[in-house]
Amino acid sequence: MYIQNVSKTYRQKEVVQEVNLKLSEHKLTAFIGPNGAGKSTLLSMMSRLLEKDCGDIYISGNEITTFKSKELAKKLAILKQSNQIDLVLTVRELVSFGRFPYSQGRLTEEDHRLIEEALHYLGLDNLADRQINELSGGQLQRVYIAMILAQDTDYILLDEPLNNLDMSYAAQLMKVLRRLVDEKGKTVVIVLHDINFASSYADEIVAMKAGQVVYHDITEQVIQKPVLDELYEMNIQVCELAGKRFCLYFNE
């Protein structure tokens, strides 16, 4: 996935400025950076939810605006941070929507198989017939991921999926995403607020600040005190524990 000279202006403020980026395939890439850095905006443009002012975004060699929306939906899936669905649906019904780009609602044998597989992959087998409004935040987030998995795309984009999840659910979700990359060869791009999650689970990190990409490298190169201090304008201690880097950013 290539991003070339992409910019976006909101009310005279350039939230994304001429971003150039080449994301590695079959890797988990985390976007980090302070609030208002333009991470979510960039992700929305990468998934055609938001129109870009200028620049090009290519996936598998083609610019995203040249795709028919239905065709793009078979290649790339996006999950935004706030999904308030006020509908009474069962878990299985919601996951089934993931097959919409393929069958437009008339589900085939193959669709049913992939839906059950997605449910199973996220450990939702015994929740499948429950209604989504009865679920906890963590369970619901898993249902959305299952839907996206049923969508069977090469690229999966997630905008702050850990919001409102407790530590256990958050770690569980990151492990699932890790498995999607390692076992299924998906390319996962995720916006994260907690840099420790990025440090523990991401292959590569893109650090953004004020609408620009300031670093893009493998995780070990970005999780470094000088880099993070400058990025967040804070005093961040980086320490190593059990072979992983951790950042301590509470003010002393």
Partner: protein, 315 residues
């Protein structure tokens, strides 16, 4: 099971509706009706019952569609200004084309209804309201602005009497020869059924719908066109039926969920049944006179509506 019960209930109610009225037609006489009985049956009873069934189904399905398009459970053509806009259209035809046919009136009403609904959707998008209760409130205010404009013009032009006929749904005046336009709703309901799955996907919200490759704007436009057409046709032939579009889909949603492909037919049946029952009450409550069915729908509907709001808030 339960769906079957509703359908049987509808059939019983429809048959009862045929044999209730000032002029007694006992069901036992069905096969040896005299000339007058036969005339009444064909001239008023059957048109009335058929239009009740279609209007009830149309109003509740229109509500169901609007709720998916706005992702809000408390929205229906009567709460977002669709009906008021259609009424403005009728006023315009009365002022400028007083001799217009019922079909012309419907077309003008439709154009106004669709414009009004689009305007509301645009307002909704501009304001991006956080609280779901605010959406129907905005709609009711928007509808009232148009409604008071209609009343003002009608007052100035001395058309108040005429325009108020369209304020309240009334099936007493439905007779053979002037209600057939309502049949147009039937193909609209079929189109809605064929479009049920994309409409449900659009109910997931813009971002998720686009992620799934849905042409969100197009589906919204198609949905609103169906609703505006159906509402205009109902308005011109029988008048406004308040609350029906909100309470029926909400009750059905509690039992059968929100996958429209599964619930559209049952919503239509329940809407017909509810309206026929209200009409029967309206006809017998001060027998041999009758009250407007809108009155009964409003009384029962507002109570159920408050109950639904109460439950929604306490969820």
């Amino acid at each position: 099971m339960k769906k079957g019960i509703l359908l049987i209930g509808l059939m019983i109610a429809a048959v009862s509706s045929l044999f209730i009225g000032v002029h007694s037609i006992p069901i036992t006489d069905l096969f040896h009706l005299n000339v007058q009985q036969e005339f009444i049956l064909w001239q008023t009873r059957i048109p009335r019952t058929v239009s009740l069934m279609i209007a009830g189904a149309t109003a509740s399905v229109s509500g169901l569609i609007m709720q998916h398009l706005t992702q809000n459970k408390f929205v229906s053509p009567t709460t977002v200004g669709t009906m008021d806009s259609a009424r403005l259209g009728i006023l315009v035809t009365m002022l400028y084309f007083p001799t217009a046919s019922i079909l012309t009136r419907s077309v003008v009403a439709f154009i106004f209804a669709l414009t009004g609904t689009l305007l509301f959707m645009w307002l909704l998008q501009k304001m991006s309201l956080k609280n779901p209760i605010m959406v129907p409130l905005l709609g009711i205010m928007f509808g009232n602005v148009i409604g008071s404009f209609v009343t003002f013009i009608a007052y100035k032009k001395q058309l108040i009497q005429n325009i108020s006929t369209w304020l309240e749904g009334n099936f007493a005046t439905v007779t053979k020869g002037d209600y057939e336009l309502i049949y147009l709703s039937v193909p609209l309901l079929i189109v809605a059924y064929l479009y049920a799955y994309p409409l449900t996907v659009s109910g997931l919200g813009e971002d998720l719908a686009i992620n799934l490759g849905l042409n969100y704007r197009l589906v919204q436009l198609i949905g609103m066109t169906i609703v505006a057409l159906a509402s205009s046709v109902t308005l011109v032939t029988v008048g406004t039926l308040p609350f029906l579009g909100i309470i029926i889909p909400n009750i059905i949603s509690v039992y059968y969920g929100d996958q429209m492909k599964e619930t559209l037919a049952i919503t239509a049946v329940a809407g017909s049944l509810f309206l026929i029952l209200c009409d029967i009450i309206a006809r017998v409550v001060i027998f041999p006179y009758e009250v407007s069915v809108s009155l009964i729908v409003s009384i029962l509907g507002s109570l159920i509506f408050i109950y639904l709001l109460w439950k929604g808030v306490n969820k």
